[in-house]
C-alpha cells in the first residue's frame, strides 16, 4: 500500500561519498603549502600563492591518476590552471573594489549628495560640503554622450551588417581605427575644433562630445558583432513576408538583438564614465552646481577626484576616494538599469 513518492533530484551532481577525496586533497594542499612556507626560505604572500598553485597541481593530478588514469590527471591539471587563471582575474578586481569601498565609505553620508563645494574650503572636514555638482556633471555627461553615440554607433553597425553598402569595409576600418584613439586626443580635438576654432567656451556639452568620440567605436563594434550573430533565417523570413529591409530591421532584427545592443551601450558607458583627460580640456571645472549643460564651467566625478587628489591635503585625498566610490556606485546603477530594461524576451533561444 506504500505509495512511492517521486522527488525531483539531480543525479548528475557529485555525491558526498565521491567528493571526500577532493576535500581531503584540498585540505592537504592548503596544509602542506603552509608547512612548506614555514620550513623553506619561501616567504610572504607571493611565496605562499606559488606553493599553493604547485601543490594544487601535484595533489589533484596524483589523486586523479590514482583514481583513474593519466587522461584524468591531465584533465585535473588543466582544471587547476583554469581556476588559477580565473583567480588572477578575480583577485585584483576584488582587492580594487575592497580598497575603494573601505577608503570611500569613510565620510560617506547622505549629506554629500545634497551639497556642493562652493562654500567649503579644501581642508575643511568631510562633514562639510559635498559632491552633488560632480554627480550632476557626470550624469549629464554620460547621458549626453550616450544620446550622441548610441544612434551613431548603431547606425554605423547597421550600415556595415545590414545595408552592406559599398563603403562598409571602409567604415569598419575607421571604426576600428577610432577605437585606438587616446582619450586625450579626443579632448584635444574638441578643444581645438569646437572651442578654439568655433569659439565656444567650456561646458558639459563639449565634455560629452569628447566622450562620444571615444564611445562611438565601442558601441559600433559591439553592435556589429551582436547583429552578425542574428541568424540569416530571420532576415529572410521577414523579407519573404513582404517587408521592406527597413521594417525587417526595425521589427525583427533589432528586437531580436535587444539584449546584445544594450550590452553595447553598457560597454560604451564603461569605456567613458571614468575618463578624466578629455574632461580636463573641455569642462573647465567648477565647485558649484551648474544645471545648464550648454553653458558655463562644470565638474564631473573623475574631474572632482583628480582635482582633490592634486590638492594633496588629507581631507582632499579623502574626498578623492569618496568621489571614486560614488562614481563606482553610479556606473553600477547604470549597468543594472540597462540590464533591467534590456532583458532578453523569449529567452530560450
Amino acid at each position: 500500500m506504500a505509495t512511492i513518492s517521486v522527488v525531483p533530484s539531480k543525479p548528475w551532481r557529485p555525491k558526498l561519498s565521491r567528493v571526500w577525496p577532493d576535500i581531503l586533497g584540498a585540505l592537504f594542499t592548503a596544509l602542506s603549502s603552509v608547512a612548506i612556507v614555514a620550513v623553506t626560505p619561501l616567504k610572504g604572500r607571493l611565496g605562499f600563492s606559488i606553493t599553493l598553485i604547485v601543490m594544487a597541481v601535484i595533489t589533484s593530478a596524483s589523486i586523479s591518476w590514482l583514481r583513474r588514469d593519466r587522461k584524468a590527471a591531465l584533465n585535473s591539471v588543466s582544471t587547476v590552471f583554469v581556476y588559477v587563471a580565473a583567480a588572477f582575474v578575480i583577485i585584483p578586481l576584488a582587492s580594487l573594489l575592497f580598497e575603494i569601498v573601505s577608503k570611500g565609505i569613510v565620510g560617506f553620508s547622505f549629506g554629500i549628495f545634497t551639497k556642493d563645494m562652493s562654500l567649503t574650503s579644501a581642508d575643511s572636514p568631510l562633514s562639510e560640503g559635498g559632491l552633488l555638482h560632480a554627480v550632476i556633471g557626470t550624469l549629464y555627461i554620460v547621458l549626453l554622450a550616450t544620446v550622441i553615440s548610441t544612434p551613431v554607433g548603431f547606425l554605423a553597425s547597421l550600415y556595415i551588417v545590414e545595408v552592406q553598402g559599398r563603403f562598409a569595409s571602409l567604415v569598419r576600418f575607421f571604426v576600428q581605427a577610432m577605437s585606438g584613439v587616446p582619450s586625450i586626443v579626443a579632448g584635444l580635438f574638441i578643444y581645438a575644433v569646437w572651442m578654439i576654432g568655433l569659439g565656444n567656451s567650456y561646458n558639459v556639452a563639449a565634455g560629452a562630445g569628447a566622450l562620444a568620440i571615444l564611445m562611438i567605436p565601442t558601441v559600433a563594434r559591439t553592435a556589429e558583432e551582436v547583429l552578425k550573430l542574428i541568424p540569416n533565417d530571420l532576415r529572410e523570413a521577414g523579407l519573404a513576408l513582404g517587408a521592406t529591409q527597413w521594417r525587417t530591421v526595425a521589427m525583427i532584427i533589432l528586437p531580436a538583438a535587444k539584449s546584445g545592443l544594450v550590452t553595447a551601450i553598457i560597454l560604451g558607458i564603461a569605456r567613458v564614465a571614468g575618463e578624466t583627460a578629455p574632461l580636463l580640456l573641455t569642462l573647465g571645472g567648477a565647485d558649484a552646481i551648474n544645471l545648464n549643460p550648454f553653458e558655463g564651467n562644470s565638474s564631473a566625478l573623475p574631474f572632482y577626484v583628480w582635482k582633490n587628489y592634486s590638492l594633496g591635503n588629507p581631507e582632499s585625498i579623502q574626498r578623492a576616494w569618496l568621489g571614486v566610490f560614488v562614481l563606482m556606485i553610479m556606473v553600477f546603477m547604470f549597468f543594472s538599469l540597462a540590464r533591467y530594461f534590456g532583458r532578453a524576451k523569449g529567452a530560450n533561444r
Binding site: 523570413a237 513582404g242 525583427i252
Partner: protein, 309 residues
C-alpha cells in the same frame, strides 16, 4: 501469476505485430511498387477533378538558369503553375529545388554571389521586371522555409500576425484571422491557451506550423513550401497536407518534398529535378498520376520507384 504471464505474452505478441507492421511499411518505402504510389496519386486526381478552380493567379517560370558565382546550378527550367493547383518538386539532394523556388519569390537575390537568367511571370507580369515593387511580389508569393524560423522576440500571436505588421496592413478582425491561420496550420489546439508565450518556447515541429500559420496570414496568391514537413510528426504532416488541399482551392502551391507518398497524396503535378554532377535540370514534369505510374523518362521511373537517389 497466470495473469501476469498472459499479459506478458500479449505484450510480446503485440510487439511482434507492430514490428512486422513497421517493417512492411519500410518495405513499401524501399521498393515502392509503382502501382501503389500511382494509385494514391490517381485517387487524389479523381478527387481533385471534381473541384472547380476559382479565379487565382498563375505563376510561370521560363528558361530559368541560376548561378552561384561561376557555377551553374540550374539549367533551362520552364514550368507552369496553374491557379488552384499543387505542384510537387522532387529530386535528390543538391539538385537545385530550393534554389528554384527561391527564384520564384525573389529570395535568390539575397545571396551575394547569385546570378540569374530567364523570366518568372506572376499573372502574366515579369516579377523581375524593372519598376516592380519586390515587397508586393513577396506578399503575393509566400514562402515556408526548410528550417523553422519563428521570430524570437515575438509571442505566438505576434508571430502569426507579424506579416500584417511588417507589410503595414490594417485589419479589424485580427483575432478571427489568428484563429483561422492557426487552425489551418494544425496548431490551434496546442497553443490556444498560450498565445502570449514566445515563439521560441515551442517544439521544432510546432515552430514550423507556426511559420506556416504566419505565411497564411497575409493571404498569399501563391505559396512556396520548401520541405515544410521534414521536421513534423505524421499527425501534423497530415494536418498540413489537409491545409494544402484546402488552400489549393484558391491559390497555387509549390511544394518541395523528399517524401514520395506526400507528393502523390497532395499534388496535381509533379516535376522531377536531377543533376548529374553539373547543373540541375528539369527531367520531366506531368500530372502526378502519370509521373508515378507511366513516366516518360527512365530516370524518373528509377527515382520514384526508389532505385536510385
Amino acid at each position: 501469476m497466470i495473469n501476469e504471464e498472459n499479459r506478458e505474452m500479449r505484450d510480446s505478441m503485440s510487439k511482434i505485430e507492430t514490428t512486422s507492421a513497421a517493417s512492411s511499411g519500410a518495405d513499401i518505402r524501399k521498393e515502392v511498387k509503382p502501382s501503389s504510389l500511382a494509385s494514391v496519386a490517381a485517387s487524389h486526381e479523381s478527387k481533385s477533378k471534381s473541384r472547380e478552380i476559382r479565379d487565382g493567379v498563375g505563376l510561370e517560370a521560363r528558361g530559368i538558369h541560376a548561378w552561384f558565382g561561376k557555377k551553374l546550378v540550374l539549367e533551362d527550367i520552364s514550368l507552369d503553375f496553374a491557379p488552384g493547383t499543387v505542384t510537387a518538386l522532387i529530386g535528390p539532394s543538391g539538385c537545385g529545388k530550393s534554389t528554384f523556388i527561391r527564384i520564384l519569390n525573389r529570395m535568390h537575390e539575397f545571396i551575394p554571389t547569385a546570378a540569374l537568367a530567364g523570366d518568372v511571370l506572376l499573372g502574366g507580369k515579369d516579377i523581375y521586371g524593372s519598376g516592380v515593387d519586390v515587397t508586393k511580389i513577396r506578399l503575393k508569393i509566400g514562402m515556408v522555409f526548410q528550417k523553422p524560423n519563428p521570430f524570437p522576440s515575438m509571442t505566438i500571436r505576434e508571430n502569426v500576425l507579424s506579416g500584417l505588421r511588417l507589410a503595414q496592413i490594417k485589419l479589424s478582425n485580427e483575432d478571427e484571422l489568428l484563429e483561422s491561420c492557426l487552425l489551418r496550420a494544425g496548431l490551434w489546439d496546442e497553443v490556444k491557451d498560450r498565445l502570449n508565450e514566445y515563439g521560441g518556447a515551442l517544439s521544432g515541429g510546432q515552430q514550423q506550423r507556426l511559420c506556416i500559420a504566419r505565411s497564411l496570414a497575409v493571404n498569399p496568391k501563391v505559396l512556396l513550401m520548401d520541405e515544410p514537413c521534414s521536421a513534423l510528426d505524421p499527425g501534423s504532416t497530415l494536418r498540413i497536407e489537409e491545409t494544402i488541399r484546402e488552400l489549393s482551392e484558391s491559390i497555387s502551391i509549390v511544394i518541395v518534398t523528399h517524401n514520395m507518398q506526400q507528393a502523390a497524396r497532395v499534388s496535381d503535378y509533379t516535376g522531377f529535378f536531377l543533376s548529374d554532377g553539373g547543373p540541375g535540370k528539369l527531367i520531366e514534369v506531368g500530372s502526378t498520376s502519370e509521373i508515378f505510374s507511366t513516366p516518360k523518362d527512365q530516370r524518373t521511373l528509377d527515382y520514384v520507384t526508389g532505385r536510385f537517389g
